[in-house]
């Protein structure tokens, strides 16, 4: 039975990705029978390169994508190097799960409110420090240089990279290497830089590439925070795809292919930079410089992480406050009139999208977990490891491009099954995250437990469900929760594959946020957030409850 695992995964996930990506190629060269275009030509590419502002869009994409990735990476590595096992570290560990649970769209909505010219930050300091009674005429959100987008993305990615790093570090003997390095006279952060980070980075390469791919091709956050004159390339392609005129679909296909190639090129760039750094930095590692106290970089890192934590909390708080606000004129610090009416009025409405989100998330997260356990058990029994690169492929390719390809394929073949397609679309992105979160613990599981139990005469299946899974319950539940959260925050698969028929809290939140009704947007963002937190709550609470029951069972 287990033998089916590789075929199942390839059929469910691999083949459609390839098919979808391939189906971008024909329309990009003007072959699109559904629109009556049957002659090959390079017209879409010409129109693409001639579109006003397209080079700016392209550079904006590179700038925000690479910038956000580098910012979050340096912040994460800096935090590890300077704050390992300090008080800050413990605080960060506690907040890691809640920070991860905040979905991107909710974060973007809250962040937009925080930094807007009429946003909370300015309200708090006006008119006391600024003397303003009107918001200034600044462009802080949707600013033309994409700084708001870049900053928000980097803030959102730090917890993810930190989690992946912590997992990778548990495989490295950090304590003793730090001891060893310090005994040689190196200051702790130098030990990290010269000894531990070079060992860490290969393990977090894939998550870094995933962050890069996301940042380059993000649509939902860019719609809320990103520039729109012109927009980033991904947003532009998204608009083209939605345009009624079919010619725009061919240009969109060309744009999606461009995004794909750009992402691969940027990943290649990171690989190149890493290789060059290693080569050129070889002697630097052993030149003996022990490093000073590192007060300034340490302080900067602590401030950066502190700001990240504070910002995230204020984002969540801002959402709550706005959802309860009736009147909140500038420059009041808090609403002048509060009311529950926003929630009450919207309560009749958000039931459906909430239900849809929860149903999809439950089905997909459980399905993904089952598939992941199936695949991992297959690998564990045959002592093989599938290449992580293949597993994480959906995270490394632009979501927009792949989904468009699949959608175009669906149009061509007349496939109508929207809901199954939406489920599949979610599964495609949930599977790698669940896999990544579980891989470390699962493959580190001591096989002797199973051998002992099998030797006692039980069947494989029995042993699996009674011995292995219960021992792995914590990481399994945590990975499930992550999968649930990832499904809740999906935007493009629901919209593109579902053709707008299955509004979820995320699609609603984006639609309302781009429309401008902040109170409604806050409500939907909070619903998104609460759904995600709910899953983490179960993941963290269930083992404790089980343990409590077991304990009570003994003594009660």
């Amino acid at each position: 039975m287990l033998r089916l695992a590789p075929y199942l995964v390839t059929a469910l996930l691999g083949v459609p990705i390839l098919a979808g990506t391939a189906s971008l190629i024909l329309p990009a060269w003007n072959y699109f029978p559904a629109a009556g275009l049957k002659e090959f030509s390079a017209l879409p590419w010409q129109l693409l390169s001639g579109y006003p502002g397209i080079m700016t869009s392209f550079f904006l994409t590179l700038w925000t994508g690479l910038g956000a990735t580098l910012l979050s990476l340096t912040a994460t590595l800096g935090f590890i190097s300077f704050c390992w096992q300090s008080g800050w570290w413990r605080v960060a560990r506690k907040l890691l799960a809640p920070l991860l649970a905040v979905p991107h769209v909710a974060f973007a909505i809250g962040f937009a409110f925080l930094v807007a010219p009429s946003g909370w930050l300015l309200r708090l300091i006006s008119p006391a420090l600024t003397g303003w009674h009107h918001p200034p005429n600044w462009q802080t959100v949707q600013d033309p240089m994409g700084l708001a987008l870049m900053l928000a993305m980097s803030l959102k990615e730090i917890p993810f990279l930190l989690l992946m790093s912590m997992a990778a570090l548990s495989q490295i003997d950090v304590e003793r290497q730090v001891w060893l390095g310090r005994s040689f006279g190196y200051s702790p952060h130098r030990v990290w830089y010269k000894l531990l980070l070079p060992q860490l980075y290969p393990s977090i390469r894939l998550p870094v590439f995933a962050v890069l791919a996301y940042s380059l091709c993000v649509v939902d956050m860019a719609l809320i925070l990103g520039p729109n004159r012109p927009a980033t390339l991904a947003v532009q392609v998204y608009h083209w795809f939605n345009d009624p005129d079919f010619h725009w679909k061919t240009i969109a296909a060309a744009g999606a292919l461009t995004l794909l190639l750009t992402t691969l090129a940027c990943i290649g760039l990171l690989v190149f930079i890493e290789a060059t750094w290693r080569k050129l930095g070889r002697f630097f590692l052993v030149n003996g410089r022990r490093g000073g106290k590192g007060r300034v970089p340490g302080a900067i890192t602590r401030i950066h992480i502190g700001l990240t934590l504070v910002t995230s909390c204020m984002v969540a708080a801002g959402l709550i406050v706005w959802s309860l606000a009736r009147r909140w004129p500038f420059p009041a610090n808090v609403p002048t009139r509060w009311s529950l009416s926003n929630w009450i009025r919207e309560a009749a409405f958000f039931g459906d999208p909430l239900r849809t989100s929860l149903v999809i998330a439950t089905v997909v997260s459980i399905g993904a977990l089952a598939l992941v356990l199936f695949s991992m058990e297959y690998q564990a029994s045959n002592d093989r490891r599938w290449p992580l690169l293949a597993i994480c492929l959906p995270l490394l390719l632009p979501q927009l491009s792949m989904l468009f390809g699949v959608r175009l394929l669906a149009i061509r073949t007349g496939l109508q099954a929207q809901f199954p397609l939406v489920l599949w679309g979610h599964l495609l992105y949930v599977f790698p995250y669940v896999y990544l979160c579980l891989a470390g613990s699962y493959f580190a599981f001591d096989p002797r437990y199973m051998h002992t139990a099998l030797a006692l005469g039980r069947s494989r299946v029995y042993v699996y469900f009674r011995v292995k899974l219960p021992l792995l319950i914590k990481p399994v539940l945590f990975s499930w929760a992550v999968g649930f959260g990832v499904s809740i925050l999906q935007f493009l698969p629901t919209l593109i594959l579902g053709q707008g028929r299955y509004p979820t809290v995320t699609t609603e939140a984006v639609a309302i946020a781009t429309g401008g009704n902040r109170r409604m947007a806050a409500i939907y963002a909070l619903l998104q957030l609460l759904s995600s937190v709910f899953a983490y709550g179960i993941a963290l609470g269930w083992p404790r409850w089980l343990a409590h029951r077991l304990k009570c069972g003994e003594s009660c």
Binding site: G53, P144, N228, F246, I411, G414, G515, G516
Partner: protein, 388 residues
């Protein structure tokens, strides 16, 4: 005596004319039972969404029809979906059963043969429609020909705060002076969002010395010349506009939010009662009001249509008929809910039905929409000049 016979004969004829129609309608109602209608409509206003929610509950209760509001940000996307279905040979059981359209989208659908109909003659409530006073036989100069049913009236109006001063949108000159005096507090939604495009049309109708070309299809030859006054005006407005004209709000709701935040002093809406509704539910300060420009508010009607390949045409007709009913129109026009003006002729209603409406409500003096090709042309030219 003769006249008496005449009346009886007339009544008999009328009855004979109406009876089959009544029988037809009953068949339609039967066919419609237990169907699901997918209604693609703009979802950018929570008032509209809440109204449609009420409507869904009503049609379920009365007719056993499930009405699903598919929220779209731009109905043009739905048009392209239906077009794709037609090109793909899907002539029945299409994914869309009802659409909320007007203007250039109606034109596109009509020309591509994507509409079912004519059907409005079949609807019992259609006889209550105000064909006398409202230009309901033409949609942006394109003949309707029964292919879409009128739903409400849109009038471009500018929302402002009475507490801050007099109406700044009387005409383009006053608006420009206001913007120069209060820098960064005036803007309009970014075309091709329809509020923004309509604002361009409104301005052009005032600034153009001769508006007759605007009511004909666009000619490439005079396009630039006719629109020149508009671009000259905007070139003067943008430097003193919000964000110096380098960024624009995304739509009407965004403008209202910015107005609430204190970043803008005006908002643009198509619903003449939007200001009243917003003041009532707290989205805007209680002192807001709406005003129209002195040449007349750009007025159009918006409609409901049925795609040619809907698999639930009878149910869609029943829903549309309900939406034309006095109860539904009255609730729609009520500022507690949506506030969109009715297209019914109040004089054709019974006393009780008339009492459901606000007697004090009047539309602004209006000015008709130009030919739809001008909207496309204006959007394109705006994009070239200011879009990046």
């Amino acid at each position: 005596m003769n006249s008496h016979k005449l009346i009886v004969a007339l009544a008999a004829t009328l009855f004979l004319a109406v009876a089959p129609a009544a029988a037809d309608w009953r068949t339609t109602l039967d066919e419609a039972r237990n169907r699901t209608v997918y209604f693609n409509a703009w979802g950018g206003s929570s008032e509209v969404n809440q109204y449609l929610r009420w409507a869904s509950e009503e049609v379920m209760r009365r007719y056993d029809i499930v009405l699903k509001h598919v929220k779209v940000s731009d109905i043009a996307q739905t048009v392209s979906v239906i077009l794709a279905e037609k090109a793909g040979g899907r002539h029945d059981n299409g994914s869309v059963d009802m659409v909320w359209i007007n203007g250039e989208n109606f034109k596109a659908m009509k020309q591509a043969g994507l509409l079912y109909g004519p059907f409005t003659g079949k609807l019992p409530n259609y006889r209550l429609v105000n064909l006398r006073n409202l230009p309901l036989n033409e949609d942006f100069t394109i003949p309707v020909e029964g292919l879409e049913a009128p739903w409400g009236v849109g009038q471009l109006n500018i929302i402002y705060d009475r507490a801050k001063g007099p109406f700044p949108g009387v005409n383009s000159r006053v608006l420009l002076e206001y913007a120069q005096k209060h820098v960064g507090r005036i803007s309009y939604p970014k075309p091709p969002q329809f509020h923004g495009s309509s604002f361009l049309k409104q301005l052009l109708l005032e600034l153009a010395p001769d508006t007759s070309p605007l009511y004909r299809p666009v000619e490439k030859s005079d396009m630039v010349q006719v629109t020149r006054p508009l671009w000259r005006y905007l070139d003067r407005l943008h430097p003193v506009a919000w964000r110096k004209g380098r960024a624009f709000p995304t739509g009407s709701a965004h403008m209202k939010q910015l107005m609430d935040d204190g970043e803008l002093d005006i908002a643009i809406s198509f619903n003449p009662q939007d200001a009243a509704t917003a003041a009532r539910n707290g989205t805007l300060p209680p002192t807001v009001a709406a005003g129209a420009m002195e040449i007349g508010a750009l007025t159009n009607c918006h409609f409901l249509a049925i795609p040619f390949n809907s698999g639930n045409k009878a149910a869609a007709e029943v829903v549309i008929n309900f939406l034309l009913s006095p109860e539904a129109q009255a609730r729609k026009a009520d500022t507690r809910y949506w506030g969109d003006p009715t297209i019914l002729d109040l004089e054709r209603l019974t006393e009780r039905e008339r009492g459901l409406f606000d007697p004090d409500f009047h539309l602004f003096a209006g000015i008709a929409e130009p030919h739809p090709s001008w909207q496309t042309a204006l959007e394109k030219m705006w994009q070239e000049r200011y879009g990046h």
